[in-house]
Assembly symmetry: D2
């Protein structure tokens, strides 16, 4: 070998009988985003085999309308993730489907004025019926009106909402129900910016005052990082969920706790670093802030998550199999969260 | 003219003595995003000449670190916008500069591990000093600890924070101070997802409990739409601010108020529609939801806002000149917001 | 069903035991680019089952350095494509590997000055040894110097180059050799813009004059369209190869031949329509030009081809299996190309 | 100053009475692509003041349909560039307008089937009349049929085409005529991939054989680099023109001439580095290949060129004014090109 830069020749992929996981392994020997996708699977697989690690997922983009909810539920049920930070919209759309409503295969070329006349909402190439959303609106507003008046973190609110949704017979593929059943916290740091927030606001105008205390969210997710061994992050898109998880490392630093940045970092994004925003920034940039450990395994994949998630989830299922992951168990009953790793 | 599609020949731009506004006008005869940028200026100019119109701006991306704060302040001071919905980060960085701290001209190629060792945070090609951020952290935490215990909307909190910042001698180019002085509401729907939220959380661990009630934000911005004549929107990026403004049209529809969608809609974005997210979706898609009026003037420009904002602001200044815009005045004292147009 | 827009509910993908082809089928019920990728597989599969159809592939981007050469060879060997239009670079890099040289797994974060000092060329996250390229340079220049002086189309030149490369013992995964062996024409419309062109230019300065007559290329590929039944196109990226294939429909129209546009159209691209270029433009735009039939099956997928190609090729292999495709056989011996479908 | 990373604070741009050039200067103190755009102007300005420098421009994307032809003509007439490497399409569209035909202000939302029925071609939001293109087709084919049979480089062909176009009274804003008049070579490395190539192919089927020898192009542009002092490059987009100019540095290296890479490098692009292609790759990557000098001034701006070109051209005009640039004069009469700097 002539020099240090030439350790491994690429291994061009042939076309052969291969499982999804085997194809992912083969793509490790290629280049560009194909290799990055393969590396993200390898990193997640490695992270799942770590001891004492808490895995946070950030979820943005209209992933549920795009048919990704059963995949996210699977990740929760098999504890491929331990905490979900999401937009409110994704959870609203999950509740919508949990209550038996649907999204529809549409076209990105439809005439939007005509759709409007037919009461059909478009999400790129997915359609939904505006009036069907009212079912979920009312479910949320009605449920909120039964709650004792106190300040709920979004985690607490989503947990009891999941319980109620299950009681009402919501489908088992629901993210919200799966999270409730598997004790995986869901945080929605911008709850008011979604139909869930709209439901609560309308309930309030009707006299039913439920407060979601989002500063409490900051405290709770910080406790999660404080109580964790290692931490890993998986970002589907960027936005508020990515920043909300990233900033826990800033907080612990301000609090004088040297947690040293996340140890694993994966992102699937269609953004790009050169626009300067947090959504598309590299994990290397995050190293300068101390949010990511300099020695962390870092993989940023530039790809639509509706392509990445099905492939990654199937590959992980194949690699991890029925082995039970030693996932953290949370005890929120005391003053401070306690985490117990199995 | 042979057929309806051939009404106007393009007018290739020559290179001549031109002001910024004249160049924008000339670019109306071109194509692609150059024309879109010119159309965004024409649309905003037209909107400013409308009667009884409330203009909402959504602000995302690290616009303040990138040197855009004096432009946003100008837009507020001259009432080219009437309401600002922002990420917390942009307002935090504005406060940071208002308190005399700086951002620095950096490089996107810097070694992030070395930056970390030097306590320097990187935001693409802008640097900041981690320890300098503590000044703003403490300002916010200390201020919060002096406040009467009640539930504040982020609008209320930002208004009294602006007052305090002015009292402390914050610089006149501050967005937060300009908004306070000009009675322009600032909403931060994901306040907890920023250093402002971190400040409040740390204050709370210290025993000082201030609650920002974000459902109240939904109510208040909905009141703004209810009390407005026409509405126009300008989105710098997408994210939570875009959705938070867009959803007001859904809320008014649920409430049975037929406001009919925003009448003007401008977006500067580096996202793209085909990823399916709300940030990059077209205003045509929004028509299907009833968020944008089918007859609205709609311009989506695919461009980094750090290119668009300086050009657009200078062109508007040239076109509008010293004429005082008949901007809405808000009366928040009663049960319901009252808006008075001059 | 309430209205015509709601024919099919989405079918969220679960995570299960699935082959690659089965996963692709499952993704047809989702949204965004995940569904588009699935649709591209379905369209290609359908195209392969059509009678009397000639399939053109355009190939851009550094696909061979990124490890995609065995996939392209497979597509040729199994006649999933009938004609390849490529950049010169991809064919040069294929020859480089056919001659036993390598590309290397590198990093996009490497120090380029240091790489330069070590004689290592970087292609994003793939490395190559500058001096190793000389082997292929000399092979091409030496071979060119043995050729009879005449005007070669790039198709003719690549065919005899493939023959020579095979004679020299080039590896069987070579695109150039596979195309030669399977009688699949390779066109390189911008041959001079590549190391192949450089080789010919250096040979010429050494007195060996071989001319590649690119107008002949236009004539020959036009003959292919003239002699074909239906035509289908698959674009990996855009650039010259996409336009060169697209423009055949303009030529046949000018020549008064009503071929009516391509019947199948698939593109994998990381470009976007809103920049106005041909590379990223939609197939709908192409309909206005008559390049694509209005009733054609059209799928544009926004994705890095290094992700798409491995998945698509494996899914097609699974669907098509060992069935021999009835591919066109070319007879270039007369004045006009004759095509015989099996 | 605490450390080396904090040399210059950003200078947020205010909104003031400013010329385009002054705004560009002000944007040097900001961040992200706004600063990059300003840096591109500063770099080009500096390059124009260099002695003994030859400036190559690569031109891709549908810049002429998008109304950029008078700007490119201005750059040629004032010798802000010394050599143009273009797609054939841009030069065809320039000839189309030089012959009095037009492009039209259209919409990217038009119905393409209806456009097709009306004989209207769409280029994103620009329209053209299919039948009007025949005028330019015939002009090229007819002219080609009058030429002596010999092998022309595309440079030679475009030069005599420019002469003919001028004789026929083509408009003075024409790029092709301006280049002819100002002795600025135009190379079209993929001439066959355009309507110019189509014209020549149709002429040939009619018995008029003109050959464009593209290997001669490689030789001629290499001579330009060999005979130059310093070299600078400005890429509008990427594609073949970018690579064709970049590869001259590889050729001179193979030929044993140590020219050391281009000294100035500017690119306006809507591509991105992470897709691995040459179009979007960084100039840093090019350093590893020796194509760009490690000490070169390098600015890559991520922006639609229809935004960048008008601003950059106006800013340069303001900065350079009437000063006559000491541009290279070419003597192509001997065996080898001689360049004389004034």
């Amino acid at each position: 070998m002539r020099n240090k830069f030439l350790q491994h020749a690429t291994r061009p992929v042939d076309v052969a009988d291969r499982t999804i996981g085997q194809l992912a392994d083969a793509m490790l020997g290629t280049g560009f985003q194909g290799r990055k996708l393969a590396e993200s699977i390898a990193a997640w697989d490695e992270m799942l085999k770590e001891k004492d690690t808490t895995i946070f997922m950030g979820l943005t983009g209209a992933m549920v309308p795009a048919g990704m909810r059963r995949i996210v539920s699977y990740l929760i049920q098999h504890r491929f993730i331990d905490c979900l930070v999401s937009t409110g919209a994704n959870m609203f759309h999950d509740i919508h489907e949990a209550l038996g409503r649907k999204h529809y295969v549409g076209s990105h070329l439809a005439d939007d004025e005509e759709l409007f006349k037919h009461g059909v909402d478009r999400i790129y190439d997915v359609f939904a019926v505006e009036s069907e959303f009212r079912t979920a609106d009312h479910f949320i507003a009605d449920f909120a009106s039964t709650l004792p008046k106190k300040d709920y973190s979004s985690r607490e609110f989503m947990s009891i909402l999941g319980e109620e949704l299950k009681r009402r017979g919501g489908d088992r593929d629901s993210i919200v129900i799966s999270a409730y059943e598997n004790d995986v916290p869901i945080f929605i740091p911008a709850l008011c910016d979604s139909s869930i927030g709209i439901g609560l606001m309308i309930a309030r105008r009707g006299g039913n005052f439920v407060n979601v205390d989002q500063i409490k969210d900051v405290d709770e997710i910080t406790q999660m990082v404080e109580a964790s061994g290692k931490t890993g992050v998986v970002y589907v898109g960027g936005g508020v969920p990515k920043n909300f998880i990233q900033q826990t490392e800033v907080i612990t630093s301000i609090l004088g706790l040297d947690v040293g940045g996340h140890d694993y970092a994966i992102q699937f994004t269609a953004d790009a670093p050169h626009w300067g925003g947090l959504s598309g920034c590299t994990f290397d940039e995050a190293v300068s802030w101390g949010k990511i450990s300099p020695v962390a395994k870092k993989v940023q994949v530039f790809v639509d998550a509706t392509i990445a998630l099905p492939i990654v989830a199937h590959a992980l299922r194949e690699k991890i199999g029925r082995r039970v992951r030693k996932a953290p168990a949370y005890d929120w009953t005391g003053d401070k969260l306690k985490i117990k790793y199995k």
